[in-house]
C-alpha cells in the first residue's frame, strides 16, 4: 500500500515504554546485580547507567538490604549515590524471564513530605484552636468572652478589624465588641436598623451560612450599593462573616439554634482570599462563643438563683439573729426574775449535776457559781445531807413531783425550815431529762403554825376545863339529887345541857382537825376488815338511829384494808351521823364496801387497788355546786343546819383529812330530794402486803 508506513514492532513499543516510564525500572540477574535500568531509574538512583550496571541492588539500601528476602511489594528506603535518602514503593517480579528479575520503583519522598506538612499544619491548627477555645472558656463573664474572642481572631487571622454584632429580638443590632488595628477607625457601639439585616438574611445565617467575600467591590460579592458605600466609609476591602448560634432551650418552643449575632473579620489594607482554614477557624470560634454564651446565661441564671437564695439566707439569718436576741433578752429577764425571787431555784440533770441556779442559791449555801455549776448533788450538799435527800431525787427522776421539808443550818448560822419541791423535766415520750428544784424558806410560816398550834392547844385546854365543870354541874343537877326543879327549870336545864354537849363536840373537833392538819398525828395503820369497821360505826350510832327511827344496814363482802382503825371508825361514824341527821324517819342508811378501781389522778405510773366505802341516805340531797365545798371547814349546805342538827361544820373536813392521810379520796354524789351517797377509798391490803414483803 502506497504511502503506508510500517507499524512499529512490539519491541519498539516496549522500548518506548521502558524509556519513558515515570516509574524506575531495574532488571536484576540471579545474584541481584543490576543488568539494565531505564532513565527514570537513573534519576532515582542519582547515577549514570554505566555506574549502576553491575552494582548489587543490596548496596543501595539505607540499611543492609537482602533483595532475596524482599516481599513482592512494599516500601523501602535507599540512599542515592550522592547520599540523599529516598523513600520508594517497589514491585518485585522474580524470574520474569528465566534468570532475571524485574524491580519497579516509584519515588514517594515528595508525597510523604507533603503529607507530613499537612499533618503538621493540621496539628498547629488544632493547637491554635484549643488555645483560643481555652482562652474564651477561661471566663464566664460575657464581656470578657467576647473581648477575648475578637482579640484572638484578629491575632490569628492577622485581620485589620474583627467585630461582634449582636442581633436583638426585634431584628435591630449593634456592634458590641471590636478589635481593630490603630490605623483604622473603630466602629464599636454602632447600631443598625432591622432593614440592614432583614429576616431572610437572619434565616440564612441561622442555618449556618458563612460569607467569605474576598473583594467587596467584586460583582460576584453581590453586595448592595449602599453596603459597598458603607464598606468604603470604613475602608473595608474584604470581609468574612460567620454566625454566632446559641443552642436555644425552651419549655414553650421547640429546641433549636438561635442567631445570637455575627462574628465579622474585615481586611482593610487589601482584598483577601479567605482560606478554608480561616473560614473554618472563624466558624469554630463562633461556635465556641455560642457555647460560652449559653454557659454565661446559665451562670447568670445560677447567679440569679444564688443571689435569690443568698437574700433568703440573709433574711433567715436576720430573723434567726432577732430570735436569738429575743431569746437572750428573755433568758436575761428570766435570770433577773430568778435572781430577784426570794426562793432557791436550780435545775439538776439526769446525772444529778447542777445545770442552773439562781443567785439566792449561792447566797444561801455560801458557795460560788463554780462550786455549784456542773457539780454533783453529793459534792454540793455533802454525804450526810445527800443521804437524806436522795430518796426525793430518785422520785423526781422517776417522773413524779415531790415536796418535802427540811430543817437546815444555812450560811447565816441559823436553822431554817425549808420546803423543797422537785418538779421533773419531762421531754418526748415522758423521758425525764432532769428536775427543777424550788426551795423556799418556810421558817416564818412554821413559827406561825407553832404559835397557832400552841394557841389552839391553850384555848382548847382553857375551854375544856370550864366546860367540864359546866357539863358536870348540869349533869349533877339533872339527877335531881340536889333538889327538884320546876318543869320550865328542867326545860332550861335540858337546853343548857344540849348546848354544852355541842360546845364540847366543837372544841373536840377543832382540836382534832388542827392536830391532823399539822401532821402531828401518826396513823397507826393495820390490817382491818372493812365490814368490821362499818359494824363498829353502826354500833356507835345505834342509839341515835333508834331515836330518829332510822334503820342502819351494812352490805358488801369482807375486804381487807390497810388503815388506822380508830380514825376510819371516826370517819364512818361521822358520815353515818350526818346520814341519820338528814334522813327522814323510817328510812334506811346503807353502808357498803366494794372493790371498784378508782384511778389516782396524781400518780401516773402506779395503779393501786382501792376499796370504796359508801354511806347512802334518803335525805334531802345536796346541790351539785356544793358537793365539793361541804368538805371545807364550817361549810354546811344550810347555815341553819348546825343549829337544827347540832353539827359543828368540821366533821367532813376532819373526814377528808383522815382519808387523805391514808392516801385515799373522799367525795359525795347526790340527787336532790332523793338522797346522797358519801364515798371514800382506802388502799386494799393485798397490794400493801406485797409491798411490805419486798
Amino acid at each position: 500500500m502506497a504511502g503506508a508506513k510500517k507499524s512499529p514492532t512490539k519491541k519498539l513499543f516496549y522500548e518506548a515504554v521502558f524509556k519513558h516510564s515515570l516509574e524506575a525500572i531495574a532488571i536484576l540477574n540471579r545474584q541481584g546485580l543490576i543488568v539494565e535500568v531505564n532513565p527514570a531509574a537513573v534519576r532515582l538512583f542519582g547515577a549514570s547507567k554505566k555506574k549502576l550496571v553491575g552494582k548489587a541492588i543490596d548496596n543501595f539500601g539505607q540499611t543492609s538490604l537482602d533483595w532475596r528476602q524482599l516481599p513482592e511489594q512494599g516500601e523501602i528506603q535507599f540512599q542515592q549515590f550522592k547520599g540523599e535518602i529516598k523513600a520508594v514503593e517497589y514491585s518485585l517480579v522474580r524470574d520474569f524471564l528465566p534468570q532475571y528479575n524485574l524491580l519497579i520503583l516509584r519515588d514517594i519522598s515528595e508525597v510523604r513530605l507533603n503529607a507530613l506538612a499537612q499533618l503538621k499544619l493540621h496539628h498547629q491548627r488544632v493547637e491554635l484552636f484549643s488555645e483560643v477555645t481555652l482562652k474564651i472558656r477561661q471566663s464566664l463573664q460575657l464581656s470578657e468572652i467576647l473581648q477575648t474572642a475578637v482579640a484572638e481572631v484578629q491575632r490569628i487571622l492577622q485581620a485589620d478589624r474583627v467585630l461582634i454584632y449582636q442581633v436583638f429580638a426585634n431584628g435591630t443590632g449593634m456592634l458590641i465588641e471590636e478589635a481593630v488595628l490603630p490605623e483604622y477607625k473603630p466602629i464599636l457601639g454602632m447600631k443598625f436598623p432591622e432593614e440592614v439585616f432583614p429576616e431572610e438574611y437572619r434565616q440564612l445565617y441561622t442555618r449556618g451560612r458563612v460569607r467569605a467575600i474576598a473583594d467587596v467591590r467584586a460583582a460576584d460579592a453581590g453586595l448592595a450599593e449602599c453596603l459597598i458605600e458603607f464598606m468604603d466609609e470604613w475602608m473595608v476591602k474584604a470581609k468574612l462573616v460567620v454566625p454566632i448560634l446559641q443552642n436555644f432551650k425552651s419549655t414553650t418552643e421547640p429546641e433549636g439554634d438561635r442567631l445570637w449575632g455575627l462574628l465579622i473579620a474585615h481586611q482593610c489594607q487589601a482584598t483577601r482570599q479567605w482560606t478554608d482554614f480561616e473560614q473554618e477557624l472563624m466558624q469554630q470560634l463562633a461556635d465556641q462563643i455560642g457555647i460560652a454564651l449559653s454557659q454565661g446565661e446559665l451562670l447568670e441564671n445560677l447567679e440569679g438563683l444564688v443571689a435569690e437564695r443568698t437574700a433568703e439566707l440573709r433574711q433567715e439569718i436576720s430573723e434567726r439573729a432577732k430570735a436569738e436576741a429575743a431569746l437572750r433578752r428573755s433568758e436575761e429577764q428570766l435570770r433577773l426574775i430568778a435572781n430577784g425571787l426570794p426562793v432557791l431555784i436550780a435545775y439538776v440533770d439526769r446525772q444529778q449535776h447542777y445545770r442552773f441556779n439562781n443567785r439566792a442559791y449561792q447566797t444561801w449555801l455560801g458557795l460560788s457559781p463554780p462550786e455549784i455549776y456542773d457539780r454533783h448533788l453529793l459534792q454540793v450538799h455533802g454525804a450526810a445531807e445527800y443521804q437524806q435527800i436522795c430518796q426525793y431525787v430518785a422520785t423526781a427522776l422517776r417522773g413524779e413531783t415531790v415536796t418535802y421539808e427540811r430543817d437546815l443550818l444555812l450560811q447565816d448560822g441559823c436553822v431554817h425550815s425549808l420546803s423543797i419541791t422537785y418538779i421533773p423535766h419531762l421531754q418526748e415520750q415522758d423521758k425525764v431529762q432532769g428536775f427543777f428544784a424550788l426551795t423556799s424558806d418556810i421558817s416564818d410560816r412554821k413559827a406561825i403554825e407553832r404559835m397557832k398550834d400552841e394557841f389552839i392547844s391553850v384555848v382548847s385546854h382553857e375551854l375544856r376545863t370550864p366546860l367540864t365543870s359546866i357539863h358536870s354541874s348540869l349533869k349533877i343537877l339533872a339527877t335531881g339529887k340536889l333538889g327538884s326543879l320546876s318543869t320550865q327549870g328542867e326545860r332550861m336545864l335540858k337546853i343548857a345541857d344540849e348546848q354544852t354537849e355541842r360546845l364540847v363536840h366543837l372544841v373536840n373537833n377543832v382540836l382534832d382537825l388542827q392536830r391532823i392538819q399539822s401532821g402531828k398525828i401518826t396513823m397507826n395503820k393495820q390490817a382491818c376488815h372493812a365490814q368490821e369497821l362499818m359494824l363498829e360505826a353502826v354500833q356507835a350510832m345505834k342509839t341515835l338511829a333508834q331515836e330518829q327511827d332510822i334503820q342502819l344496814s351494812v352490805r358488801g363482802s369482807d375486804f381487807m384494808v390497810w388503815a388506822d382503825r380508830d380514825y376510819i371508825v371516826q370517819t364512818l361514824t361521822n358520815l353515818v351521823s350526818n346520814a341519820i341527821k338528814f334522813s327522814p324517819s323510817n328510812s334506811t342508811v346503807v353502808l357498803s364496801a366494794a372493790n371498784e378501781p378508782q384511778p389516782k389522778p396524781h400518780l401516773k405510773q402506779q395503779s393501786t387497788s382501792y376499796i370504796t366505802f359508801a354511806v347512802r341516805d334518803r335525805g334531802q340531797g345536796i346541790p351539785q355546786d356544793e358537793l365539793e365545798t361541804i368538805f371545807e371547814r364550817f361549810q354546811q349546805v344550810d347555815s341553819s343546819d348546825s343549829r337544827k342538827k347540832g353539827g359543828t361544820g368540821l366533821g367532813l373536813a376532819i373526814c377528808r383529812q383522815i382519808i387523805e392521810g391514808h392516801g385515799g379520796r373522799i367525795w359525795a354524789e347526790s340527787c336532790l330530794e332523793q338522797g346522797s351517797t358519801f364515798y371514800f377509798t382506802l388502799p386494799e391490803l393485798i397490794q400493801l402486803e406485797s409491798d411490805r414483803h419486798d
Partner: protein
C-alpha cells in the same frame, strides 16, 4: 358496892367540886382534894387512897412531875394514877401510859359518869 377513896389532884376549884359531888352521887365514894402536886403527894402518903385522879396541867409542879414523885416514893408507887387532861390524844395517851399512869380521861368529861369510868379502868366492881 365497895366504898373507895379517891384523891383528886387538880388546881381548878370548880373541877374539884363537880368531881367530888359527881362521884359522891354516882358511886358514894369519898374524894379527897389536893390543889397542887406537893399537897397531893403528902395526902397520898398519909391517906393511901385507892386511886389518884391527877390533872396534867398545873402551875409549879405539873402532873408529869407529880407522877414521877409518886412513882419514886415507896409509899405511893403502887397507887393507880389516872391522868385528867384537856390535851390527851391517842398518841399522848400511849406516852403517858409509858410513864406509869393506868389510863387517861380527857376533859371535858361528865362527872356523873366518872366513877363508872374509873371502875372500868381499874376493873372495880360497882
Amino acid at each position: 358496892m365497895t366504898e373507895k377513896n379517891i384523891l383528886l389532884i387538880d388546881d381548878e376549884e370548880t373541877i374539884q367540886e363537880v368531881v367530888q359531888v359527881g362521884i359522891g352521887i354516882e358511886a358514894g365514894w369519898q374524894v379527897a382534894i389536893a390543889s397542887s402536886g406537893w399537897e397531893g403527894i403528902n395526902l397520898a402518903q398519909n391517906q393511901q387512897p385507892d386511886a389518884i385522879l391527877l390533872d396534867v396541867m398545873m402551875p409549879d409542879m405539873d402532873g408529869i412531875d407529880t407522877l414521877s414523885q409518886l412513882k419514886n416514893n415507896d409509899k405511893t408507887s403502887t397507887i393507880p394514877v389516872i391522868f385528867l387532861t384537856a390535851k390527851a390524844q391517842a398518841e399522848e395517851k400511849n406516852q403517858f401510859q409509858s410513864l406509869g399512869v393506868v389510863d387517861v380521861i380527857t376533859k371535858p368529861f361528865n362527872s356523873m359518869t366518872l366513877a363508872s369510868k374509873i371502875a372500868k379502868i381499874l376493873d372495880w366492881e360497882m
